[in-house]
Subunit: 169 residues, 2 copies
DNA sequence: CCGAACATGTAACCTGTTACATGATTAC
DNA sequence: GTAATCATGTAACAGGTTACATGTTCGG
């Protein structure tokens, strides 16, 4: 069974934290800074149900009357997660980067628009960067990805500086 | 009308190349190195149909009997593209990065697995990098995004080097 | 003439989104 | 008691994927 990115991320959540419930998995995605996860109930609950049907996660009833169930990985689930972690082709592919997608066309704009776009984007990158910096030191696993996100924003900022310097004047 | 990333990319394709047909737009996505575009007919043709219905692109019949139509942006389409290009919040958000998503858990693996994963990922990044380098100098607009993709892979490589050096021995 | 490439689309399916529905527990 | 939060899910919809269907043009 090939895992989607969300399913892999769900297995990751369950594996690296203990005593996780569906709700906590969902909230982890909701509070994630990445725009690619909405953490919508309509995505997370069905994904967990799929993984359970596929025998990759186990659920045992919790103690409360709310019907909460404690999730854990089965042996097959741990194997599937490892295969997902070690899949270099997927892990190292270039994902969907909205900045990169637009960058080519920014160059073709008139001088006035190029100035405007560089100002707008610098401000937006700096705002994102500030959010990311304020999020560090929450969790050793999350911090690694957060650090990579900061480096990506720094790369964008450097690129914008070059773009700026290439403008006349 | 808020544009999806695919719709924005379609407008970009049509705007920056002349005399584009649906087929050529589709092929541009098929040959794109980004894994996020499959260039499937079931995505591109409906997207073009939506944009046409929304009055953002115009189509005039071509000369051949194949039913090809030459696409161009309407005034509204050019405005929509510009708004999409200048939307800093979307452009500078952190997209879906499969490498970043996995990076946190790589740190939690045992020493043997950490060594294995760093080797696998370095090889995968270098393979991707080679593909990207061989693609440069095709088109001034595409080259900008290609250059950013190369920088992203270089960032990953640097990160993997640090990861490697942090390993005992 | 035949196969490859050009060219356009549709249908079944899967996954994710928003919005809604439902109920339990806790803090005040 | 009641508002916020915890907790789980479903329904309608949007968009993408694969696979298929159909016909044209061109090179050999």
């Amino acid at each position: 069974m090939a895992l989607t990115e969300l399913e892999g991320a769900v297995l990751t959540e369950i594996a690296h934290r203990g005593n996780h419930t569906s709700f906590k998995v969902r909230r982890a995605f909701q509070t994630s800074p990445s725009s690619s996860w909405s953490g919508s109930a309509g995505a997370v609950y069905p994904a967990i149900a799929r993984l359970e049907r596929a025998g990759l996660i186990l659920a045992e009833p919790g103690t409360s009357r709310r019907g909460t169930r404690i999730l854990s990985l089965s042996t097959a689930g741990a194997e599937a997660l490892k295969a997902w972690l070690f899949d270099g082709e997927t892990a190292c592919s270039i994902g969907a980067d909205p900045f990169r997608l637009r960058s080519g066309l920014w160059n073709t704009l008139g001088e006035e628009d190029r100035r405007k776009v560089v100002r707008t984007m610098k401000a937006a990158v700096e705002a994102e960067m500030a959010k990311l910096v304020s999020r560090t030191a929450l969790d050793p696993v999350e911090d690694v990805g957060n650090d990579l996100a900061i480096r990506l924003q720094q790369l964008r900022l450097d690129w914008l500086d070059e773009f700026d310097r290439a403008l006349p004047g």
